[in-house]
């Protein structure tokens, strides 16, 4: 009898303690997603000051797949952007973390502060700043190039270069984030493993290859996943640097959604684009989660 009563009290406590969080989740996450899905199945028109919503089934999704080449150019560019930017951020961030880990005292504090500087600057300022730096006629980067006898480069105006210029700015901006996470990961590694390995490894490379990297793998995967997901959200930097042009050379998914949803006021089509993007990011999260779990399972077996 007492056991049943305790069990009931525990159940009430569990439900009661989870309820506020669950309600918040429903109101702030689940309801908006279902609302977005509902919106993607309709078309909204305004006449005589009133809105009229018409159910159109999957028409908006058909339009996205059959008749929105700019959105798909954005998908392609976003993938290129995410892969290249995150790859460079991971490599540079890891190198920076390793270099700072080996320092002590004032040099470490100074280097850490310098490395972290870009991350505290708002993206909107970064966009404006790099637009000035990379400008063809008046930019400082071209002034430096010309000072050493090199020709000026139209970093943001040349459609063959513009995307890579934008990726370069993103790498500059977000590498400190990767650096910070990886440095934290490096510092939390068990030093006893390194001490014990002194007898088996003969070089710094071997220590990195056979000890540091395997131990850091969970942190690396989490950081990689975070950056990949965040890179799909890129908007403000590109908005200020190139406006998505020239042509579709720097168009990204969020641009298409913004333009369709807000500028064109085409809420149904914009919602369909958002749902598809949301689905793709959700798949990405599941993949990253799967990799982390797989790794844990292997470790457990070992």
């Amino acid at each position: 009898m007492q056991t049943t009563s305790t069990g009931r009290r525990n159940a009430v406590w569990r439900i009661g303690s989870l309820l506020p969080a669950a309600l918040l989740l429903v109101v702030l996450s689940i309801y908006p997603v279902f609302n977005l899905i509902g919106l993607s199945l309709s078309e909204v028109h305004w006449a005589d000051g009133q809105s009229a919503s018409t159910f159109v089934g999957l028409d908006n999704y058909r339009t996205v797949f059959a008749d929105q080449p700019v959105y798909w150019a954005g998908v392609r560019n976003t993938i290129v952007f995410a892969v290249l930017a995150v790859t460079f951020q991971m490599l540079l961030g890891f190198c920076m973390a390793l270099s700072v880990q080996n320092l002590k005292g004032v040099p470490r504090a100074i280097l850490t502060a310098i490395f972290l500087l870009p991350i505290v600057i708002p993206p909107i300022v970064i966009g404006a700043m790099w637009r000035l730096l990379l400008g063809r006629d008046f930019g400082m980067v071209n002034a430096l190039l010309q000072a050493v006898g090199l020709p000026a480069v139209d970093f943001l105006g040349n459609p063959n270069i513009a995307l890579f210029s934008v990726i370069g700015v993103d790498v500059w901006h977000w590498t400190p984030f990767v650096f910070l996470l990886l440095l934290t990961g490096l510092e939390s590694l068990d030093q006893e493993v390194f001490d014990a390995a002194r007898f088996d490894v003969t070089s710094g490379w071997q220590r990195l290859r056979y000890i540091t990297l395997p131990l850091m793998l969970p942190t690396i995967i989490i950081t990689l996943g975070l950056r990949l997901i965040l890179s799909f959200k890129v908007f403000d930097e590109i908005y200020l640097l190139t406006g998505g042009g020239p042509g579709t050379s720097t168009e990204v998914i969020n641009f298409s959604i913004y333009r369709t949803f807000f500028a064109q006021d085409n809420t149904g089509l914009g919602a369909a684009m958002s749902v598809l993007t949301l689905g793709a990011v959700a798949v990405l999260i599941v993949v990253v989660n799967g990799l982390v779990r797989l790794r844990r399972r292997r470790e457990a077996k070992a």
């Binding site: 700019v70 943001l156 064109q264």
Partner: protein, 439 residues
């Protein structure tokens, strides 16, 4: 901004004239007018006029100054609510049709029966009126707004370089091309084009209309069949691309308004077609090394064709979803703002006027040399996308024009593709249109 000439005598005259105009406009009631306005280059001049109005009226004006990019969203949110947040809305020409057609605005002659657009106030392609039946701007339709800033495009040129080379302001595109070649050297672009994706349609519009082309067959009567891809359209686009590429920047497809003004202000560009609102900063010595050397003229046309400029003006409209007394107060301000005396002060403060009868007020004052060119261009200004789907159409057409400019596709393919995509948008929106042919 234009130099603010604080002349005591003139201001006293204006104050008295303004007070008289206010008295004529009707009794002022003590209302706070909530006004949504864009953070544009002419804002300071507008604020000066708000101050002047408040000095002369019991009404006060609360400005919500918003960056251009957020204006449409704020306007929609206010208009679509049961009770509006603003009593007066500044509407850019690009989104005008959407708000006119949506049925959100109170006809001005419903607030004051018998009201018409005052004489000499510019209508920028009849954009003060909207016909719900024709789905078009139509002087016979409802009066839904009055202009508050007449931002049209003009031809900018360097007066000193023209003088040195013995050139005159071009009347035709051929003459402009000849001037461009004569002005180009290692340090100077002969002519700069605003060809970035979000700017190109506005910049291309005068080329199209003044070559005898058009976007739509007969928009004034509601026939929006796309006719962009014809011989005139092709000639216009080829002229546009030639001027952009031969003597201009390496990648004109990335030049937006800010770059264009920067190139002119730094003396890198000898000529450009740009908005009249830039004139003030181009002639301000603290912003421009060519201050005093910039001339303005009517945008050229093809020989034998009519001149044209693209309307990029701002209208002010009054929402339905605000109380009647607020509507009356908003109209009171609006009627005062477009009076000749108020407009003279607006120009003196650095604003772009909305009247055609101001040139003589500033005769002999070099600071206001832009007025004749402004009036000439304003008189031939046209709306390029005068329909509800204008923003979507702008996006699809702009992309194709931009792709042609950066060399991704030919001019012919760009026009064919733009026409087809624009037609698709119109068909989907329920318009009865004749499908475009192929060039």
């Amino acid at each position: 901004m234009l130099g603010f000439h604080h002349r005591k005598g003139r201001w006293t005259r204006r104050l008295l004239a303004g007070a008289a105009a206010l008295a004529l406009a009707g009794p002022a009631s003590a209302e706070e007018i909530r006004l949504l306005i864009s953070q544009s280059p002419w804002l300071d001049a507008f604020i000066a006029m708000v101050d002047e109005y408040e000095d002369q009226s019991d009404n006060t004006i609360a400005l919500d100054v918003t960056p251009f990019g957020g204006m449409v969203e704020k306007t929609r949110n206010s208009l679509r609510a049961d009770s509006g947040s603003y009593d007066l809305l500044a509407l850019n020409s690009a989104a005008l049709a959407e708000f006119y057609a949506g049925g959100f605005l109170q006809p001005l002659d419903a607030i004051e029966p018998g009201l018409t657009v005052p004489e000499n106030v510019l209508t920028f392609g009849d954009s003060t009126h909207w016909s719900a039946e024709k789905k078009a701007f139509d002087p016979a339709g409802q009066l839904l707004g009055l202009p508050i800033n007449g931002n049209v495009q003009v031809l900018y040129y360097r007066k000193d370089l023209y003088e040195a080379k013995g050139l005159k302001a071009p009347e035709t595109w051929e003459e402009l091309e000849a001037n461009t070649k004569a002005l180009k050297d290692d340090k100077t672009y002969g002519f700069v084009t605003r060809g970035a994706k979000d700017s190109i349609l506005y910049n291309f519009t005068p080329y199209l209309f003044s070559n005898g082309g058009a976007f739509f067959k007969d928009p004034a009567n509601g026939d929006y069949s796309v006719v962009l891809n014809n011989a005139q359209g092709l000639e216009a686009l080829e002229t546009y691309m030639r001027l952009a590429k031969e003597s201009g920047v390496e990648n004109p497809g990335a030049v937006a308004q800010a770059e264009l003004i920067q190139l002119l202000a730094t003396g890198r560009a000898a000529q450009a077609i740009g908005v009249i609102a830039a004139y003030a900063s181009l002639n301000d010595p603290s912003n421009s090394i060519v201050a005093g050397k910039i001339g303005t003229a009517l945008i050229p046309a093809k020989a034998g064709e009519s001149h044209s400029s693209a309307a990029g003006h701002w209208m002010a409209s009054i929402p339905r979803n605000v109380p009647a007394e607020k509507q009356a107060a908003a109209l009171h301000f609006l009627k005062w703002f477009v009076t000749r005396d108020a407009q003279i002060d607006y120009v003196a403060a650095g604003g772009v006027p909305v009247r055609s009868d101001l040139a003589d007020a500033f005769e002999g004052d070099e600071t206001f040399d832009f007025l004749p060119a402004f009036s000439a261009n304003a008189a031939v200004s046209q709306m390029n996308m005068p329909l509800v789907e204008g923003i979507e159409l702008k996006d699809v057409i702009s992309l194709e024009l931009n792709r042609a400019l950066i060399g991704e596709i030919s001019a012919k393919d760009a026009l064919n593709s733009a026409a087809q995509k624009a037609n698709d948008v119109l068909v989907k929106a329920g318009y009865t249109v004749t499908p475009p042919g192929q060039l």
